[in-house]
Amino acid sequence: MALIGSGVLQGLGVTLRTFIETYPWGKALLGVLRIRTGQGLVTIEYPDVRQQHHERQRIFPFLVYDGAPDNLRCVSCKICEQECPPQCIHINGPAKDEQGRPAKVHGRTYPVTFDINVAICMSCRICVDVCPFDAIEMDNEFELSTEERFGRLVFNKARLLKSNEYFQQIKPTEAAEVDARLAAKAKPSPKPAAPAPAAGPTAAPAA
């Protein structure tokens, strides 16, 4: 039969050990006594010390541009706006010139306004998955709190735009995949262009 109260004393021992091992001298003492120690203090004192987050951590989307901010990849196709489950994306576009034809910069149409509401976004990454142009990606910036409820919580195009270099920096693996995919898309573009003249005449008579 176990001694009366031995379980109680055992429990007290565990807490006392945990208490002692959070101090450097205590850790040394337990080492001398050859008592197995746990993990010690686990708190990361956030504003002073920052935790190394996982690369795939996702908080809020941003729009990717190559080189200059006007060279954004988004063509204002509005697929993300339609697919967004909480409907936090609002796009005006594509931009039109005076004659009402789609305006193009760097050979692409572009959105006039592109707003995402932080208060509504649920960080699901569906917009990234559905984008055919890899124009929208997830950022891991998490300090998004603001004192103003309406103005600052809606991110406009200017605040959403971030460079591809930034993307490569925060998510090297994913950015490399995207870059490879875009490069593959860009390279064979002469090939579809080459059969196009051949296909064009055959298609035209058929029509």
Binding site: I4, V8, G11, L12, V14, T15, L16, T18, F19, T22, Y23, G38, Q39, G40, L41, V42, T43, E45
Partner: protein
């Protein structure tokens, strides 16, 4: 230069020399009241910080660190927060009793400080019925809790209050009975005389004193509603128990009462069983040097503070190098060590169920306390080896028997489960 042990007493005497003869008794009363009224809230504020720091370390956290160095300003900011909070009274509450209850909780606890001997010749009132006074005044606290819970007119509060009354009354019985053995041996009820009786040996190191001390301490823990006996509050079951409907300064008063009561339980256990302000005659300069090293190595303190602290401690060590560690420091150190045990309990044990709580008081502590009175009689009647051995055997057999008797009947037959169809 007067000795360090009596430094406060001599200061008071010197101060009173300045007063006319007729005013001295009144000044004595005023000083005692003033010191207790000023020290009690200050003690409570830093007890909260102490508890939060220790419990945090037991859970692998830092505890408060942001307000001031090592979080030392945290109690002040908490107090400020409590002061400026809105005071909410439920619509159908009994407004008068709702307001009076926290006051009636704090008042008796502060009254209890009167008989606490903090050091040699340092007690506000050396009542010759000190022990009786403790039990009489401490039991008023259960009225306060019941009043507050009932006046809130909330189900959580009422449930908490009813639990509190059941628990407090149950634990007062073994708590008082465990002290009977002590009264029997010392033949006095005065706190000062009880401390004097422990000059040769602390009562914790006698067989009956060990049992009585542990029981008195645990009953005290139960009476101040601390984990693992925090049934009246039970935040996971009753949101906050009897003080669910309190906010702002009234809530702070409840906490003041609770922490001071916990402190007093430690203080009285120290006084009755751990030798009070008595302690081994360790030279004071040793302690001063140790403290100076600790203050000097505290990396987060600003450098001037560290320098001044080291200098002051070194000077004190030099000035009183012939003195032992003063009695009031022994008392404070022992009390805080015991408060650490309270926090340690809170960090370790889950809350007891209502039936376990009542069972512990009535089925184990009560018979054990009665047996302990007998054991103390045996210890007193027979000289050293025989009496001690007999009482140890008696108590061990009693504890073992009580545990065996109280063991729940368990059948080892395999349980069969029948699914309802």
């Amino acid at each position: 230069m007067s000795s360090l042990d009596q430094v406060f007493v001599s200061a008071q005497t010197a101060l009173f020399q300045l007063l006319p003869e007729a005013l001295r008794p009144w000044a004595g009363i005023a000083v005692r009241i003033g010191v207790i009224a000023a020290l009690a809230p200050a003690v409570m504020m830093y007890l909260t910080l102490f508890e939060r720091k220790v419990i945090a370390r037991m859970q692998n956290r830092f505890g408060p660190t942001r307000v001031g160095v090592y979080g030392l300003m945290q109690p002040l900011s908490d107090g400020l927060k409590m002061l400026i909070k809105e005071d909410i009274v439920p619509r159908h509450a009994d407004r008068l009793l709702h307001m009076l209850a926290p006051v009636t909780a704090v008042a008796p606890v502060i009254l209890l400080f009167a008989v606490l001997p903090i050091g040699r010749n340092m007690v506000a009132a050396d009542l010759n019925v000190g022990l009786l006074y403790i039990f009489a005044v401490a039991s008023v606290g259960s009225f306060a809790i019941f009043t507050g819970g009932w006046a809130s007119r909330s189900k959580f509060s009422t449930l908490g209050a009813m639990r509190a009354v059941a628990q407090l009354i149950s634990y007062e019985v073994p708590g008082a009975l465990s002290v009977v053995a002590l009264i029997m041996v010392t033949g006095t009820l005065s706190m000062v005389s009880i401390v004097d009786a422990q000059a040769a040996r602390w009562f914790l190191f006698t067989p009956w004193g060990f049992v009585a001390g542990v029981m008195f301490f645990l009953c005290g823990v139960a009476e101040c509603n601390r984990t693992p006996f925090d049934m009246p509050e039970a935040e996971s079951e009753l949101t906050a128990g009897f003080h669910t409907e309190y906010s702002g300064m009234k809530f702070a008063l409840w906490y003041l009462a609770e922490f001071l009561e916990a402190f007093l339980v430690c203080g009285f256990t120290v006084t009755l069983f751990l030798g009070g302000w008595q302690g081994p005659a360790v030279p004071f300069w040793l302690l001063a040097t140790l403290l100076a090293v600790i203050v000097g190595m505290a990396q987060k303190l600003p450098l001037p503070v560290r320098a001044v602290g080291v200098l002051v401690l070194a000077a004190a060590g030099l000035l009183w190098r012939a003195d032992p560690i003063p009695s009031w420091l022994w008392f404070t150190a022992k009390t805080y060590a015991l408060f650490f045990v309270l926090v340690w309990f809170r960090g370790t044990f889950p809350r007891l169920r209502a039936d376990q709580l009542m069972g512990l008081a009535w089925k184990f502590f009560l018979p054990m306390a009665l047996l302990n009175i007998f054991a103390a009689g045996v210890w007193v009647s027979y000289p050293f080896p025989m009496g001690t051995i007999a009482s140890v055997l008696l108590l061990a057999a009693g504890a073992w028997g009580l545990v065996r008797i109280n063991q729940p009947a368990s059948s080892h037959a395999p349980r069969t489960y029948v699914l309802a169809d």
